[in-house]
């Protein structure tokens, strides 16, 4: 908009008449008006949903328009700061490509032909189909795939409906094996946000974790503090990540051999008596068995596997031992790599136990033991048939194993799955082997998608229900269990745009139509939140103003004589030797197995994160798209030269099964080993409705046709594909 003297006069007289009447005033005018002192901004606290860190936000609005998002100083995950993505949250709110009305498919599934529909028509249709499926196949034939806050609305709907079949990619495609490995060792996971005491650490170890590029707000704040305070970082990564750039030791490990390094570190620490004997005597069991099992895992052996010199392994092991217990071995987050990921996570836990760092300063701190009382609600019906989402995996988590539901959908065994409800997750980009996902979707009688943007998976749905963005809705209270207990409110900053609706409303309306209204016994979600606050002793009016309330408690973050740790394992101790794993027929002490290596001319496909994007969900956000519009394939510069590729060339990637990627730009760099290539996950959108992101960059998931299932928990290792680079054809 151009300001001439004439428009200036017009607008200023309009301002004089009362700004409240002009709801659709352009942002620039509003900011100008604010500058002139005519408008006072309002700040509304809420929390972010651009990723899963749930940072407290203060949303600044002017005359009904959100103009800026800032971190909430009282929120422990934000501490007054937001990352690039959080700062760019208004890009989602005002993305012109948002889903605007309910839509019903008029063509074949995946064809992308839709007509708009009213909410009544769309919800009636979904309810009628779900009722029909329930009558014909039973309620268990409906599955839910979900991520983030929508889960709080749609999981109760699924449970009330009578199905146990929920699948969250956050387990089998992400954190699952890490959490299971730590639970088997310490009796509990590390939580989210992870309870890392990095600011007190003398040494921090990152194994494949590229903090900084992996943008987890408060954790990266701690990371920077630790760097500034002089902690030594040992970064194990085939790629010279930003974190590696700050490391004391960068160990450019051969991919797929991390377990060998971890076992060799344990071996040296045991052999050189660098472990915390008193700590192990008090709190751990199975040390003799561990020592015996690791006797052969020498640094020389590990050198052959990992491509890290033996003396370097010894040197870093001594660094760990000498600085124990103030050592933080970061357990990672996205841990689904090679199919033996629970055991790698176990090895991380065992190493931390040898160093005595669980519950100790600079290691992992202990969670508060306070909690809020449970809210009474009508008990859900007992499903008539066993859950599909645990597969035959003895340690599958409650979040479910997504691909087991997918498999049952394809085979119809042990019983058919006929409807998928998908909320807040883009399955096509989250799950390996897209062919299987498409095949399963073909078998469905109903696919419903609830989302904000027309992501790839949404555009395969029969019925699309447009959820409003996180800045336009209430969601369940977010309870944080870190150093102390906290509760954070999600509340609307502005009313929903277009015809979009909050997730809670959609779930409740569906429940009413399915005669399950009694499971949603409140008028609005705010009523439920207010009751909950009353029960928890939280002043709701104050919460609305400050966003986050922290409950003071007397919890101690470290083990002290008065605060002995509790380990909820079989033995009640840290299990260096896992009785549970032994009982189920798995290695009680992690054992290294060699994984296939790339053939000549092939590269292992590795993927990771950009600090300005979350999964595939922000690629169309104009504020973030601008900073990283398409991903690049990182290849060692010498290899690129040999293959005749230069920086900026476009190539396509071809995997071992013949899957071919979209075109992707070459980043020839010294920052990566010669046996692998790397790209940022989440690009190569197939949905034309995402006008900025459409076909930009390559989709790593399209190349992940092969996946290695962890037999312990069912997670899918996805670093097991090999690709070749081919020059882009001129006509492509």
């Amino acid at each position: 908009m151009k300001f001439s003297r004439r428009t200036f006069l017009q607008t200023s007289s309009a301002a004089g008449l009362g700004l409240a009447a002009y709801v659709a005033l352009p942002e620039k005018f509003l900011l100008w008006a604010e500058d002139q002192g005519m408008l006072k901004p309002t700040f509304t606290p809420t929390f972010c949903e651009i990723c899963f860190w749930k940072c407290g936000v203060m949303a600044k609005s002017l005359n009904g328009r959100v103009v800026k998002l800032e971190g909430n100083p009282s929120h422990p995950g934000a501490r007054g700061k937001l990352c690039a993505r959080g700062n760019g949250g208004t890009g989602l709110l005002y993305d012109p490509n948002r889903l605007k009305t309910p839509m019903i498919s008029t063509g074949a599934r995946g064809e992308g032909k839709y007509r708009t529909a009213s909410w009544d028509e769309a919800l009636d249709l979904v309810a009628a189909k779900l009722k029909k499926i329930r009558a014909q196949y039973g309620p268990e034939s409906v599955a839910l795939f979900t991520h983030g806050t929508p889960t709080d609305h749609f999981l109760p709907l699924l449970s009330a409906f009578g199905s146990p079949n929920v699948g969250m990619p956050s387990f089998a495609q992400c954190r699952g094996p890490r959490d299971v490995g730590l639970e088997l060792t310490f009796g509990e996971g590390i939580g989210s946000p992870e309870r890392l005491d990095m600011t007190q650490s003398k040494v921090v170890v990152l194994i494949g974790s590229h903090l900084g590029e992996n943008m987890h707000n408060s954790q990266v704040q701690d990371f920077a503090d630790a760097v500034a305070l002089g902690a030594k970082f040992i970064v194990v990564d085939p790629r010279f990540s930003v974190a590696a750039g700050k490391a004391h030791s960068w160990l450019a490990i051969r991919p797929a051999t991390d377990l060998a390094l971890l076992l060799a570190w344990c071996n040296v620490i045991i052999k050189e008596n660098l472990y915390d004997k008193a700590y192990l005597d008090s709190y751990a069991s199975g040390f003799p068995e561990l020592a015996a099992a690791l006797a052969d895992c020498t640094p020389q052996w590990a050198e052959r596997e990992t491509d890290i010199p033996a003396d370097k392994i010894v040197e870093t092991a001594r660094m760990l031992g000498q600085n124990a217990p103030n050592v933080c071995i970061h357990p990672g987050r996205h841990a689904t790599w090679y199919g033996d990921d629970v055991q790698r996570s176990r090895a991380i836990g065992i190493l931390a136990a040898l160093l005595g760092s669980w519950g100790r300063e600079g290691g992992y701190f202990l969670a508060t033991r306070s909690s809020f009382p449970k809210t009474d609600s009508k008990p859900f019906p007992e499903p008539g048939r066993p859950a599909l989402n645990l597969g035959n995996f003895p340690f599958a988590g409650a979040e479910g194993v997504t691909q087991e539901i997918r498999r049952a959908t394809i085979t119809g065994a042990p019983y058919p799955v006929k409807a998928w409800i998908v909320s807040g997750t883009n399955l096509m980009k989250a799950m390996p082997n897209q062919k299987e996902t498409v095949e399963a979707i073909k078998k469905l009688d109903l696919l419903v998608a609830i989302d904000v943007m027309p992501f790839d998976t949404v555009m395969m749905a029969d019925v699309i229900l447009p959820e409003c963005s996180y800045l336009e809705r209430h969601d369940a209270l977010a309870v944080g269990k870190g150093r102390s207990l906290s509760v954070t409110l999600r509340q609307p900053v502005v009313p929903p745009l277009y015809e979009s609706k909050p997730g809670w409303w959609i779930a409740k309306e569906l429940a009413n139509r399915l005669d399950l209204g009694e499971y949603f016994p409140w008028g609005t979600l705010e009523e439920k939140i207010m009751k909950q606050c009353e029960l928890w002793g939280v002043n709701y009016q104050r919460l609305k103003q400050v966003g986050t309330v922290t409950i003071p408690d007397s919890a101690a973050p470290y083990i002290t004589p008065l605060m002995p740790p509790e380990f909820k394992t079989t033995s009640g101790k840290i299990e260096l030797y896992s009785i549970e794993l032994k009982e189920k027929g798995f290695d009680p002490v992690p054992r290294y197995t060699r994984h296939p290596l790339p053939a000549n001319g092939e590269f292992r496909l590795l993927y990771g994160r950009s600090p300005v994007h979350t999964f595939s969900r922000t690629t169309n956000n104009p504020e973030l798209h601008e900073l990283y519009p398409e991903n690049e394939v990182w290849i060692n510069a010498d290899q690129a030269r040999e293959l005749g590729f230069q920086n900026g060339d476009y190539v396509t990637l071809l995997n071992q099964d013949g899957a071919r990627s979209n075109r992707i730009m070459v980043k020839a760099t010294q920052r990566i080993r010669k046996d692998c290539v790397y790209m940022v996950h989440g690009f190569g959108t197939a949905s034309a409705g995402l006008k900025l992101a459409f076909r930009k960059g390559a989709d790593d998931q399209g190349l992940i046709t092969r996946y290695a299932v962890d037999p312990i928990c069912g997670s899918t290792g996805m670093h097991v594909n090999f690709v070749r680079l081919e020059k882009e054809k001129a006509d492509a």
Partner: protein, 185 residues
């Protein structure tokens, strides 16, 4: 009169771009243009590498070539330090864009005048920190008053070796860099 300056502690920067987005939102910077940026530079050969992450913005020079080269008097050095622009006097001639050795200015095509970082002068007035500093995840960006010996900038400069960009240009920048390269092993 305060003397405002910024210190960039490069050791703390993780190149997360939070500053870049916050700046754009705070100051309505048009698409495709930036008042600040973060450079990621790597030297060496695998595996002997070192990395420098460097935030760049207007240096608010005490000897500002953009001000001297402005033919209309639009660009000026304010009393408390920031180099600012009187928008109504700017004709968009780009002399300042050419004169700036730091590539810190752009022409706002929508509005027709030159534009640049102001150290968020409007926020300073309210007692807030510049938007990039407030959101800096690594606390790499430090802002404050050089006249106050207890300000964060004064303390950071006192206790660390620091440099300015293109010192030889004689511009006397008000943005200082604390560098440290990671040591390759």
């Amino acid at each position: 009169m305060p003397k405002y300056a910024m210190v960039i502690d490069q050791r703390r920067c993780v190149a997360c771009m939070a500053c870049v987005v916050a700046c754009k939102k705070e100051n309505e910077v048009p698409p495709g243009q930036f008042r600040t940026r973060v450079l990621e530079m790597v030297e060496g050969e695998f595996p002997m590498l070192r990395m420098e992450l460097r935030s760049e913005l207007c240096n608010h020079c005490d000897n500002p070539p953009c001000v001297y080269n402005c033919p209309t008097g639009a660009s000026y050095k304010s009393e408390d330090g920031p180099v600012l622009l009187k928008q109504n006097r700017c004709v968009g001639c780009k002399a300042c864009v050419a004169a700036c050795p730091y590539d810190a200015r752009y022409i706002n095509e929508d509005k027709g005048y030159a534009d640049k970082c102001t150290f968020c002068a409007h926020r300073i007035k309210e007692g807030k920190q510049p938007a990039c500093v407030a959101t800096c995840i690594g606390k790499s960006r430090i802002f404050g008053d050089l006249e106050d010996p207890n300000s964060a900038v004064s303390m950071a400069l006192r206790s660390n070796h620091h440099e300015v960009l293109l010192a030889s240009a004689g511009t006397n920048p008000r943005v200082f860099y604390i560098k440290k390269f990671s040591k390759p092993e």
